[in-house]
Symmetry: C2
Subunit: 296 residues, 2 copies
C-alpha cells in the first residue's frame, strides 16, 4: 500500500481473467482502493481468486458483486458487454463510475451506453497491455507498468470521473491518453487487431500444410514463425469478439495490407530486388522508434 490515500472505496471487477486479476493485484500494490471484490460467471474462477487472495469477496452473482462499489470495471470479453450493461448498469447508484478494459471502444458506447442511468458515469478505457495467457492465475500487478491506457469518454462525460479513472491507471504506472472512440478503433486495428488476425492466419496455414508435417513446423519455428505462434495463442473468445466488434476498421486496414502484400508478391515474382530492399530498410525506422519510446 502506498502512503497516498486510496482512490476508491470499493472496486468491483467483473471477469477475473488476465486483465481483471492483474487489476485486482494492482489494487493493494498501488493503493487503488480500500477493498476489491470480483464477480465472475465461473465458480472455479471465483474460488481461484479467493484462494490466490487477490479479492476480498468473489461471487458468481454479478448483480451482487457490483453492490456498493464506487468503481465497476468490466473485464469480460466484448461480446458479453450488451448483457453486462443490461444486467449491471441499472443497479448502479448515482455517482458510481463504470469503466471497462475492452479492446474495442465504439462498441462499448453502443452496447452499454443505453443502459446507464442518469448520474452514473460511463468512462470506457483500454489498457494497451496483455499477454497470450488467460484466467485468474495469469495476471500480475505490473502488467500495465510503462504501457499506455486509452480512455474514450463520450461527449459531455463528467471531467472528475474521467480524471479519477485516469488517476487509477497512472497509479498502475500507465501513461494515459484520451481520444475519440472511433479514432481508437482505427489505431488499434493496425497496431493490434490486424497483427493478431495475420498471426492467427499464418499459424492456421502452417498447420494445414500436408507435406511439411507439423513436427517440422515446430522444430524449425525459431526462424520467425514462433513469434507468430505466441500471438496466435491468445484467447480465442476475446479475439473473436474483437473482430466482430471492430469489423469496419479491421476490414479497411486489412484491405491496405492486402494491397501492399500484393505489391511485394509482384516484386518477388519479377525479381525486383531494389523494391524489396527499399521497403525492408524503411521498416527499420519504426522499430527504432519503438525502442526509443521504451515499448519494445
Amino acid at each position: 500500500m502506498t502512503a497516498t490515500a486510496p482512490l476508491f472505496d470499493r472496486i468491483a471487477i467483473i471477469g477475473i481473467g488476465l486483465i481483471g486479476s492483474s487489476l485486482a493485484r494492482a489494487v493493494p500494490a498501488y493503493g487503488l482502493a480500500r477493498t476489491v471484490v470480483c464477480g465472475d460467471r465461473s465458480e472455479a474462477a471465483c474460488a481461484k481468486a479467493l484462494e490466490l487472495g487477490i479479492v476480498a469477496e468473489a461471487t458468481t452473482d454479478l448483480e451482487a458483486a457490483v453492490d456498493g462499489a464506487d468503481l465497476v470495471i468490466l473485464c469480460t470479453p466484448m461480446g458479453s458487454f450488451a448483457e453486462m450493461g443490461e444486467r449491471l448498469a441499472p443497479r448502479l447508484k448515482p455517482g458510481t463510475i463504470l469503466t471497462d478494459v475492452g479492446s474495442v471502444k465504439q462498441a462499448v458506447l453502443r452496447d452499454i451506453g443505453p443502459h446507464v442511468p442518469d448520474g452514473v458515469h460511463l468512462i470506457p478505457g483500454h489498457p494497451v497491455a496483455g499477454t497470450e495467457h488467460s484466467g485468474p492465475e495469469a495476471g500480475f500487478a505490473s502488467l500495465f507498468n510503462g504501457r499506455w491506457c486509452i480512455l474514450t469518454p463520450p461527449t459531455g462525460a463528467n471531467a472528475d470521473a474521467v480524471e479519477k479513472v485516469a488517476g487509477l491507471w497512472r497509479r498502475c504506472g500507465s501513461n494515459v491518453e484520451t481520444m475519440d472512440a472511433a479514432h481508437h478503433d482505427r489505431v488499434l486495428a493496425i497496431t493490434s487487431h490486424l497483427p493478431h488476425l495475420i498471426a492467427y492466419t499464418i499459424v492456421g496455414t502452417a498447420s494445414d500444410l500436408e507435406e511439411t508435417t507439423k513436427s517440422e513446423v515446430i522444430k524449425f519455428s525459431a526462424g520467425g514463425f514462433r513469434d507468430f505462434t505466441r500471438i496466435a495463442a491468445s484467447d480465442p473468445v476475446m479475439w473473436r469478439d474483437v473482430f466482430l466488434n471492430n469489423r469496419e476498421a479491421v476490414l479497411e486496414t486489412l484491405q491496405l495490407f492486402t494491397e501492399d502484400l500484393t505489391a511485394l508478391q509482384r516484386a518477388i515474382r519479377w525479381g525486383e530486388g531494389d523494391r524489396l530492399q527499399e521497403l525492408f530498410t524503411r521498416t527499420r525506422a519504426i522499430r527504432r522508434g519503438i525502442i526509443d519510446a521504451k515499448q519494445a
Copy 2:
C-alpha cells in the same frame, strides 16, 4: 576450450556478420578448431573482429583468407554466393570442406556447385537461429545452442565430410537434421520466409497510414504490432536475397496464406463468429507444441 580435440585445424569464415561472428566466438568456446580466421570485404568489419579478439587473422583479401583452411564457412548474404563460389572454390585444396549458413539451400548448389573442384566437399548448411541484429558485434557463441541446424548435402556427398560438419554444429549445441535442399526451402518458406515477408508488409502498411500518425503506431505497439517490428528490423540485404533465391516456394506459400486470409476476411465481414473462434482455438495447439519442443 573443451577437453576433446578440436574438430578442424583452421576454419576460415567469410563474412564476419551476426552469424559469422557467432561462429567465430563458438570456435574457442566449443573447441571447434585450433585457429579461426576471417575474410570480409569491409575493412571496418575486419578491424572490429580483430579488436574483439574473435579471430586470429582478418583480411579483406577473401582469396587469402581461405588459404590453408580445412573448413571454409560462407556467412555472406545469398546474393553474393555465385561470386564467392567463383572466386574462392577453385582455390581450395582437395579434402577441404566448403559449407555455408545461407537461409535458402537449392540456390547454394546452383550458385556454388559448378565452381567446386574435385575432392573439395560442398556440404550446404543452415542454422535455424538468428536475431534481428547485424555485424560482428551482434554475434554470441551460444546463438546456436538448443536450435536446429539443417544440412542439405548433395547426392553422393562424402559421408565423412557430412559427419564433420554435423559434428561442428553439435558441438555448438545444435540438433542436426539432414534433408533434401528442395524440401528445406519449402519448410523454411512457411516457418521463416513468409513470417518475415508479412512482418515487413504490415510494418510498411502502418508507416504509410496518414490518419494514424507514426507516433501513435509506436505508442500503442504493445498490443501485438511491436513483435512484428522486431522481425521487420532484420537485415534488408539478407532478406532481399532470401526472397529472390526462394521465389517459388515463397510465392506458393504466400498463395495459401492469402486464400486463408480471404476466408477470414469473409468470416469477419459476415459476422461468422464460430468460424473465427474455431481457427483461433486450433492455432493454440501449435504454440503448445513449440513450448514442449523447447523452441519457444
